[in-house]
Symmetry: C2
């Protein structure tokens, strides 16, 4: 039968209903009405998805925000510990079982891995977003829009270099500022560039030769180009390529690469932006290379800011979907969690916080373990949004804790060793050091933490009790076992109650570092206070990059560490709580439009590959019923 919610007071009759995986989603316009959206505030995409207009923020600007909950995790195994299912289970519990308004704000998954090697990204079991295939495929086209914008900028860079290298100043000027209907005029974006060059003239006929030369030549140093092309496909053969080998490109070959689309800086911008105006400014500020003098060259210099904004005009609107129990979900933005900050969008959170009302809850998720995803959520995302989190839910599993306690390796695809399927209290107890450390990290930010133990059927009651006991002794406000995977929201009711209580605690949220500190000092604070490193060590390359960004005026941006998520340290094999290590910084890069500096701790792959048997072997479409098979 149809599950229904009404808003702002949810009436939900399913506490004892066995929720079927075959649950049909309600029509998205019905859902939109239930949560108080006006007809002209949504743009419907098919039966189960709708984009929500930003005008909503203006209409509800005087409405107080709801409570803001972050779901983070302990250092995970390669299998993941279930943060997404906890997020979905928690809102299902809050709204469908406790009659408290709530919203889950999730990341849009990259489509590429869906056809490669993949775990679900929409939760799972009885705690998931439906319809799964819509969530995991094109959704409402945001990643496609990012790909288009990213690649237009990439094409503009190489084409510009070619045109500058093959034309005189005069010829470039005649083409850039052509005579149209007998008149010659600068476009607005060209006038802006003139102003940046300190040229206040507006009549193209009055520029001196020297001014023309400065205007027409970006003088990009090809060896400094950091802007890469992207595709939303796992295409390992694009990891390193040579471009420009056709005769028409006249020998201007260079080495380049494709990243997976979600690694684009434009994705990070989409996740951090607060308005259309802000997005346009960030897009214009993106630094793509340096010129021959070492000065940054931006998208704005290339004249492409407006076009990028046009391509992104719909992507900026969050997409409304629903959980298996009919409660509302925003899906919006999914930046990489290593070279970017790995959190869903500020805009979705802001809109949801207004929609749930003062006593409602917005639950969102941070990528990777709390040492990475949560740290970035606080220091980068909360800085961009100005929002203050009320509670952190820290997800743990007995499996991961046993691994941290010295259990054998856990690898995707291989069967689990018996340590993980039989009771072993000693391994659990020993592994809780990682949980304890992640709790302490949360406490650095002054936010109460509730531990959610995602229970598997192989976990013994004694193991579960032990984890909860140690968590509470380690400073967690509460620690509760959850069974949302098998029981839906009903399995997360205790968690929901604990979160509600914790949200009423005194909250003394603070950032970890001041933006005014030097880049290296900010990196050191994260490494020492969060990761437990003894110190950091910059390579000579990294040091010179820090110096250049500082000189270019980018020194006061927050830091986005690109580190493995499989250990608190930089060495994935070191489990538990590693100590005494020196964190090596091999390179330091920057996403100036998104607004962060990202140090690389080791090499980060930005393009996954296809294995021998990609999961597309099992994916099929029934041409009669139109049903998708094998996607999950």
């Amino acid at each position: 039968q149809e599950l229904e919610i009404s808003w702002p007071l949810f009436v939900f009759f399913s506490s004892d209903i066995e929720i079927s995986r075959a649950q049909s989603p309600k029509a998205v316009d019905v859902l939109a009405k239930e949560i108080g959206l006006l007809t002209d505030e949504i743009e419907i995409y098919g039966q189960t998805k709708a984009k929500v207009r930003l005008s909503l923020l203006e209409r509800l600007k005087d409405q107080p925000d709801g409570k803001y909950v972050l779901v983070a995790g302990i250092t995970p195994t390669p299998l993941g510990e279930g943060k997404s299912t906890v997020t979905v289970g928690l809102v299902q519990a809050l709204t469908a079982h406790l009659n408290i308004n709530s919203f889950a704000c999730l990341r849009q998954p990259s489509q590429g891995p869906t056809f490669g090697v993949k775990g679900g990204a929409a939760g799972g079991g009885y705690a998931q977003v439906i319809p799964m295939e819509e969530f995991n495929l094109h959704l409402t086209g945001d990643i496609h829009a990012i790909t288009a914008a990213n690649n237009l900028l990439a094409a503009a860079i190489d084409a510009r270099i070619l045109h500058e290298n093959t034309q005189s100043d005069k010829s470039l000027y005649n083409r850039l500022v052509p005579v149209v209907n007998g008149m010659r005029g600068f476009s607005p974006i060209q006038l802006a560039r003139l102003r940046r060059l300190g040229i206040s003239k507006t009549d193209p006929e009055t520029l001196t030769e020297e001014e023309i030369s400065r205007f027409v030549r970006l003088d990009i140093d090809p060896s400094t180009i950091t802007w890469q092309r992207v595709v939303d496909t796992n295409d390992r053969f694009l990891r390193k390529i040579t471009v420009g080998q056709a005769n028409t490109e006249k020998g201007f070959v260079r080495q380049a690469q494709f990243d997976i689309a979600v690694a684009s800086e434009i994705m990070a911008i989409l996740a951090l932006t607060t308005s259309l105006q802000d997005m346009k400014e960030r897009l214009g500020k993106m630094v793509v290379a340096n010129d021959q003098k070492g000065e940054p060259v931006t998208a704005e210099d290339l004249g492409v800011t407006g076009a990028l904004a046009v391509l992104m005009k719909d992507a900026i609107k969050p997409t409304l979907m629903q959980t298996l129990e009919g409660t509302p979900v925003f899906v919006h933005a999914g930046p990489f969690a290593n070279i970017a900050h790995g959190n869903s969008s500020v805009l979705a959170d802001k809109i949801a916080l207004k929609l749930v009302g003062e006593n409602g809850f917005v639950v969102t998720e941070a990528g990777f373990g709390a040492d990475i995803g949560m740290e970035k959520f606080f220091n980068i995302k909360c800085r961009a949004s100005g929002l203050v989190p009320s509670v952190v839910v820290l997800v743990a599993t007995v499996r991961a804790l046993k691994m941290h306690g010295g259990g054998p390796n856990v690898t995707a695809g291989a069967p689990l060793k018996k340590e993980y399927t039989e009771e072993n209290l000693q391994l659990v107890a020993d592994g809780c050091c990682n949980l304890q450390k992640q709790i302490q990290i949360t406490q650095l930010f002054g936010v109460p933490v509730v531990v959610a133990l995602n229970v598997f059927k192989t976990d013994s009651p004694a193991e579960v009790d032990l984890v909860c006991k140690i968590a509470k002794e380690s400073g967690a406000f509460d620690a509760v076992p959850c069974n949302h995977w098998s029981a839906g929201g009903r399995g997360a009711i205790k968690l929901a109650q604990a979160v509600e209580k914790a949200a009423n605690q005194k909250n003394s949220f603070k950032y970890l570092y001041s933006l005014e500190l030097p880049i290296v000092e900010k990196i050191r604070i994260i490494a020492q206070k969060v990761y437990g490193a003894q110190d950091i060590e910059l390579s000579p390359v990294a040091q010179s990059q820090v110096d250049r960004y500082t000189r270019q005026g980018f020194g006061n941006l927050p830091i986005c560490m690109a580190k493995t998520h499989l250990s608190l340290s930089h060495q994935p094999e070191r489990k538990g709580v590693p100590t005494g290590f020196i964190l090596p910084i091999s390179e330091v890069r920057a996403s100036i439009g998104a607004g962060f500096i990202y140090p690389l701790v080791g090499t980060m792959s930005t393009m996954p590959g296809l294995p021998t048997r990609p999961c597309f072997y099992d994916i099929d479409l029934d041409p009669i019923t139109e049903q998708v098979k094998g996607l999950f």
Copy 2:
């Protein structure tokens, strides 16, 4: 005020209304209702676009088809002669002014050129599809879906070669047919491959070593790969690239290229398919390379058919939009007009023919001049659909005719010479040979032809009269001047009346050649009868390709000529009606899934570039009003 139509009897009050460019489109659900669509037959995308479900064809299967009109053109100047505006003007005239049900079926434009050098693709002036920015940008994501599907297949090819080159038969087999929960089983797509290999076993444990080897090795010859990656961006630096240069790819570098997305065979398939089942079969049949023995390797062999179909499951549904005068339009598929057939989709035409009813009209457009676009429409598209066209509208301009009569060069961007802005009856009379030839080409197919003279304000009445007179003397059923650009549907009323009369003529439609003829013979028939060539000449490469396709069993496919559109011959500078030329065929390729062989007459660029001043310089988004500026 709001323009309205009702269906099946249109009531339209605008004959004397000055139609504003600022016309707001009616809500697409209102439009859908007017034309008789049921609520569950549409999937709305925002306010002005909706996808239409194929289930409609089943519901209306007993409804007789309407009249089927093709808009083609004479050999054009590089500026284009206005086929799209005629198409839109004609349906506006039919429906909004003559109360006759009609539908325009148009191609979706490639997004890449929108930001490069571009003429509008949605008509123009008072004969256009609105909203223009929705039409020209992401639309409903079909091209993005094609890009995703195309590139998944490309990634699968290179990854497969790598895995085969670095693993033993046994290791490949263990990975391709893994033990899952203690069991090992073939997936359905693997069983299908076994059957193609003549192995009837279904238990993975029973294959012999030799069978295993044949099963696990596609043995692709990298030098024969014809499947290219695509992006919907004008990125000239991707015309020729080297891929696989990262260490992780272990030295398996090869030269490759990116095409613009609409050049993908998957786009041609989308345009020619008749159902989900048919699309899936065509996707599976796509040949991507040969193996080391010279046998074709298909998408199905790579195990990716189902995944491609899943990625394309929404793209197969046509998108409903509207003209400036509120009449319905389908926008669906936009394959290249040289290496593919350049026509919008069969499915949109089929659905529209049912919706307009027996006395209604469906108007669609063929790319390029009639010698290319129309020939392919008849011989390729009509063969795929089984539909019989009623009338051809042949679009001409005084400008193009003067060019054919010996007028100076016409180049995009340069001001027109005075021959084109002042009356010159001699040039017009001399140039009508091209019009006459294109009329004769149409008559080869037994379909009545109406000439639509797209009138510019610089055309003199005497010039206009002369063209119409010669057209009628040359065998056109009628020839009428049109002013839809400046006057909307009102400016095309006479054309609409002529088309209606012509549609009641006796129709003796026939294809130009039998599919059973040898490939070379089919090419010769097109070259001689349509282009007026003396003969054809195949390069040795082309001849060996013909031999291979024939041997592989692809000899009975129709032919899709990849020839310049700027001349009836292969030499763009030869205007009028060139004679005595030998058409050189440099290569012969094939799109087996789409279902045609395409001979290359010279080199065809499949990736446009960005000029020194791309049109993105003028494109901007107002962050307050959200309006797009400078796109047209």
